[in-house]
């Protein structure tokens, strides 16, 4: 059974490595990920938001929901620590 698992693992790994050959090369400006929204953020961020820092504009304005729930996750973590550690007290 262990040998079967090993064979399956090796075959899956080989398949993934074979598939990785078809990826666009690292940092290729013509790859699909670089052509979709990146040029718009790079060229239009300052006109649309007047924020000189592109990273902040994407983080807080274009991707506002993401940052809202990141903050909520931090809040939930702190409240969880509060509940767990104070629940152990006798007084």
């Amino acid at each position: 059974m262990k040998i079967l698992a090993l064979i399956v693992s090796i075959m899956t790994g080989a398949l993934l490595i074979y598939a990785a050959e078809d990826f666009p090369s690292w940092g290729d400006p013509n790859s699909p990920t670089s052509l979709h929204v990146s040029p718009r953020y790079i060229t239009k961020t300052y006109e649309e938001t007047k924020i000189p820092n592109m990273v902040t504009a994407v983080l807080a304005d274009y991707r506002g929901y993401d940052t809202l729930f990141e903050t909520t996750v931090i809040f939930a973590a702190g409240i969880t620590v509060l509940f767990l550690l104070r629940g152990n007290r006798d007084d």
Partner: protein
């Protein structure tokens, strides 16, 4: 529990250093637009100043400055500022978290309103991150195990 440190050099240096660290944290939050930084980083720096105070001046003296009420208030105030800003945008006729709707409230054009909205939510993120970092540190420091 960390006891009060009686070393006079540490105590005096800390008192002056904390002011500069907090000023730097506020700078990082306020200039998150133009330079690397923002709410998360600035909040961590502000929390670090309080952690410095706890480790040198002792937890009892620090709690006089940052008491339970402030802790519980600031924990949720930051998330509230963030979500409430989005809700105000909704009330003013824009989408949720679309800060250009704030131009109906302030006498600025919609593009500048997005700038202001970004600043407001960065402040909210900074408050929550500062308070939560400090809460986790203080709670782990003062935890009492059950006698089993």
């Amino acid at each position: 529990m960390i006891e009060k440190n009686e070393n006079i050099i540490l105590k005096n240096i800390t008192q002056y250093l904390v002011a500069f660290i907090q000023l730097f944290g506020l700078y990082v939050i306020a200039h998150g637009h133009g330079s690397p930084g923002g709410g998360f980083q600035g909040g961590c720096i502000l929390a670090a100043s309080y952690i410095l105070m706890i480790t040198t001046l002792g937890i009892e003296d620090t709690k006089k400055k940052y008491n339970e009420f402030k802790k519980h208030l600031f924990n949720s105030l930051g998330v509230f500022i963030y979500a409430f800003t989005g809700f105000v945008c909704l009330l003013l006729g824009a989408n949720y978290l679309d800060y250009s709707g704030l131009s109906n409230l302030f006498p600025v054009d919609p593009i500048k309103a997005r700038y202001i909205g970004t600043f407001v939510i960065e402040v909210g993120v900074g408050i929550t991150v500062m308070s939560i970092m400090l809460t986790i540190f203080v709670e782990l420091l003062t935890v009492k195990r059950k006698q089993s």
